[in-house]
């Protein structure tokens, strides 16, 4: 077995049958593997998110990141695409779910898939990972500091973001939540509310909160990066995926 991987841009069928660009990374050898749908943050389908996608493949998983802004800005640079999507009100929730479903189906169709699927998202993608896991039949989900799951966004935002904590009874899989104790979006109190909703719904979940870390502590390109929290967080992710994505 080698550690060779293949990473490339592919076309998938997303929400409403639309053709959507995605970044696919997969090991070239190894046993059938679980798949990870990586949901990019608001800054878009950028180099940092593609690097995360490759990180999962390097660990032996199939991984795909759909370009959620492809419709607004096909072929545009990630920052231009993010600006265009923002100006047009962001990604509607139903379209997000459809695109994640399409990405998951693409992974399941690969010969090297074991049929199991997880979602993971950061920042806005954290909320969207929870949303997808409450809307689709998948096997594991990771929410990295997703805001506006519990609390409504401030008044007057033109972007369509509504609380979705009420969807918790529909959560289809175990949920791993990774949060910064200093974050205000989501605040520790909001994380408490989500935790309580999951308890009341009888769902399997584990939350970890990191002292000294705020929002976006995984983001190595930002001053918000907290190496201790990020290293701990990655370890929790690997353990979680080993439990729920691996072929047993």
């Amino acid at each position: 077995m080698t550690d060779a991987m293949r990473a490339e841009t592919v076309q998938i069928t997303g929400h409403a049958g639309d053709t959507v660009e995605a970044y696919l990374a997969q090991p070239l050898e190894g046993p059938p593997a679980g798949g990870v749908v990586v949901i990019h943050h608001m800054p878009g389908y950028d180099e940092a998110t593609k690097e995360i996608t490759r990180k999962f493949a390097a660990r032996g998983y199939l991984a795909i990141c759909p370009n959620l802004y492809f419709r607004e800005a096909p072929g545009a640079s990630p920052d231009d695409a993010a600006a265009a999507a923002r100006a047009q009100g962001g990604v509607p929730d139903d379209r997000l779910v459809g695109d994640v479903d399409g990405a998951a189906n693409h992974l399941r169709s690969l010969a090297s898939s074991n049929g199991r699927i997880a979602t993971i998202g950061y920042c806005s993608g954290g909320r969207q990972s929870f949303l997808a896991a409450c809307s689709l039949a998948i096997d594991a989900a990771v929410d990295c500091y997703g805001a506006f799951v519990v609390a409504p966004p401030p008044e007057g935002l033109p972007i369509n973001v509504e609380p979705i904590v009420q969807l918790a009874p529909g959560l289809s899989c175990p949920l791993l939540g990774l949060f910064g104790a200093d974050d205000q979006y989501p605040s520790p109190e909001e994380v408490d509310v989500l935790e309580q909703a999951l308890v009341e719904a009888g769902k399997e979940f584990e939350f970890h909160r990191y002292e000294g870390a705020g929002h976006a502590f995984f983001n190595t390109d930002r001053t918000s990066y907290r190496p201790e929290a990020a290293a701990e967080g990655w370890q929790r992710i690997w353990e979680f995926f080993d439990r729920f994505l691996a072929t047993h």
Partner: protein, 91 residues
């Protein structure tokens, strides 16, 4: 955090982007993560023309102090101009 905060408004004028001058039709103003500037949050302005594609964009990311100073300078410049010159551009 990702603030999601966004103000959009129609504008008339021109901007110089990656492929030269183009007419701008809209502006987006938001305080959120920058793509390039130092710091976790900046005041970001996109002057765009969606009809010409996502690449038709002039973008700036300014630290809050700079952004306020720029806003004041714009207002002072307009306030100091002869009133007869401030009519909207034709078209």
């Amino acid at each position: 955090m990702c603030t999601y905060q966004t103000t959009t408004l129609p504008v008339r004028g021109s901007g110089k982007g990656a492929e030269g001058w183009f007419p701008v039709s809209d502006a987006t103003v938001y305080f959120d993560h920058p793509v390039h500037a130092a710091g976790d949050h900046t005041l970001n302005i996109d002057l765009i023309n969606p009809s010409r594609g996502a690449g038709a964009r002039v973008a700036v990311e300014l630290d809050p102090t700079s952004a306020r100073a720029l806003a004041l300078a714009i207002l002072q410049s307009l306030d100091g101009a002869p009133a007869g010159l401030l009519a909207p551009a034709p078209g």
